[in-house]
């Protein structure tokens, strides 16, 4: 009897959250799906008509789509590579005996707490400005020509900024994982005469495989829809050089007011994210049982 009551109570407590999330997920998605089949432009009200899959054909064959898909993949891949290749040694370093470790940790983690619009604008102006930026000055010190980041290598400039924001995240997660590594295992390996390198390859690296996977999946989900950093630095340009899928959809929706095409694009983004989400949810689910 009491159990039944408890179960009823439990269900009542859970319902609001489930209902809200369900509406939040299903209503916009259904609307996106619906809009995607319409010819619908906000600048041309009253002309809505059903066009079937025309918007998908338009969006997917638009040269801008291929360019932005490529930019998205380059951006996600590069940031992942940079944050993990730098994050692993950095986490290993912070796992050593370091005097004042807590202060170092604070400095390393800080960029993650800086809002995207701030980091993008500070990097673009104070650091990467081709004349008065700090990087230009450093280049001159070494007798090198200054790089005009946002003209000569705009996508790379955006990648650098985003990597700076996400390096702390990768480092912190890898560090947390390292600290749960069994010290005895490492000591035993050392006793057996294993070198530092083989300890790293055969003990540390396998231990890091899972956290690295988690970092890759979570970063990918956020990086697929990078927006603010591009919005405030390049506006997608020059040309389409820094337009990713998120920015392309934004510009179709809120600059060209082409609701139909932007909705089709939105669904493409949902599909892309779901491929990643599928794997992440499986990993998290497996952990839930343990």
């Amino acid at each position: 009897m009491a159990t039944q009551q408890t179960q009823l109570l439990a269900r009542t407590l859970l319902t609001p959250a489930v209902a809200l999330l369900f509406i939040w997920m299903i209503v916009p998605l259904a609307l996106t799906l619906y809009f995607a089949t319409l010819h619908y432009n906000l600048l041309d009200p009253g002309s809505e008509s059903f066009v079937g899959l025309e918007n998908f054909r338009y969006f997917l064959t638009d040269p801008a789509f291929l360019a932005s898909l490529q930019n998205t993949l380059v951006l996600v891949g590069s940031v992942l590579a940079i944050t993990i290749i730098l994050g692993v040694p950095l986490a290993l370093l912070l796992d050593q005996q370091v005097v004042g470790l807590s202060i170092v940790r604070l400095m390393v983690i800080a960029p993650f707490f800086v809002m995207p619009t701030v980091s993008a604008l500070v990097w673009k102006n104070l650091l990467m400005h081709p004349v008065s930026g700090l990087f230009a000055w450093i280049a001159h010190l070494f007798g090198l020509p200054a790089i005009d980041w946002f003209n000569d290598a705009p996508l790379f400039a955006v990648i650098l900024i985003i990597s700076w924001q996400w390096l702390p995240f990768a480092t912190l997660i890898l560090l947390t994982a390292l600290q749960s590594l069994d010290e005895e295992q490492k000591e035993a390996a050392e006793m057996d005469g294993a070198s530092a390198i083989s300890t790293f390859i055969y003990i540390t690296l396998p231990h890091l495989a899972r956290p690295i996977t988690v970092v890759i999946l979570i970063e990918t989900i956020f990086l697929l829809t990078v927006f603010a950093e591009i919005f405030v630095t390049t506006g997608g340009g020059p040309g389409l050089q820094t337009t990713n899928i998120a920015f392309l959809i934004y510009s179709q929706a809120l600059i060209q007011y082409d609701v139909g095409s932007a909705s089709a694009g939105g669904l493409v983004a949902v599909v892309l994210a779901n491929i990643v989400a599928f794997f992440l949810v499986r990993i998290v689910g497996r952990n839930l049982e343990a």
Binding site: P116, L121, V232
Partner: protein, 276 residues
Amino acid sequence: MARMVTTRNKVISTAAAWLVGFLIFFPILWMVLASFKTELEAFAIPPSFLFFHWTTENYVTVQERSDYFHHALNSIIIAGGSTLIAMLIAIPAAWSMAFSPTKRTKDVLLWMLSTKMMPPVGVLVPIYLIFRTVGLLDTRTGLVFILCLGNLPIVIWMLFTYFKEIPKDILEAARMDGATIGRELIYVLTPMAVPGLASTLLLNLILAWNEAFWTLNLSTLEAAPLTVFIASYSSPEGLFWAKLSAASTLAIAPILVLGWFSQRQLVRGLTFGAVK
């Protein structure tokens, strides 16, 4: 001998760690320094690192010319409001899943997680049109609503992982002693849940404060929080680096402090308990 090697290693790793830490932190430091320079000095080459004319005029200008506090207040209301409402909805849900799990609890949790995976840009169009129709564009209410829903899965997840760690035996003991559900909640559960509640609150305040997709797309002026205010510096006139730096320093300072307190919970919250 072994001892010497250890000391030497410690010196090397300390030096390396401080160097790397300083390099990573440097852009923030450089921004804070620039906020105390005059516009001319902030733009000057070669740059001055410490020996410049320190001034606080930028902080005054930022408030006078662009009403900084209006946007700061918006940030506080939007981040605080959305987090509090999300907590109110999430606490009962997480409590129920942690203490009365059913066969479907795992599926429900994973489904909630999957709603967080939906890219915001995928639903930008309908949300924008709905907001336009019901007059929620550029309102704090609208942003509170969206950010609350956006962060709800993370809030529920974090609370669930914390609640699950509270030993059930204690609750049973309290029940045996004749405690009612109300008393059980107030005297037994709440004190044990406070640390988890606090860190969930903190992490989600940070996420909401820094959210820069919905805020940029759904607000322009009236409801614009600091993310949008800072973005207005992307197309400025004249010299603006010192003012940008001052506004940015003010915008990130409170969250940097909160963030530093919550770094441990960060891992847990952002990996949905997959890494602890």
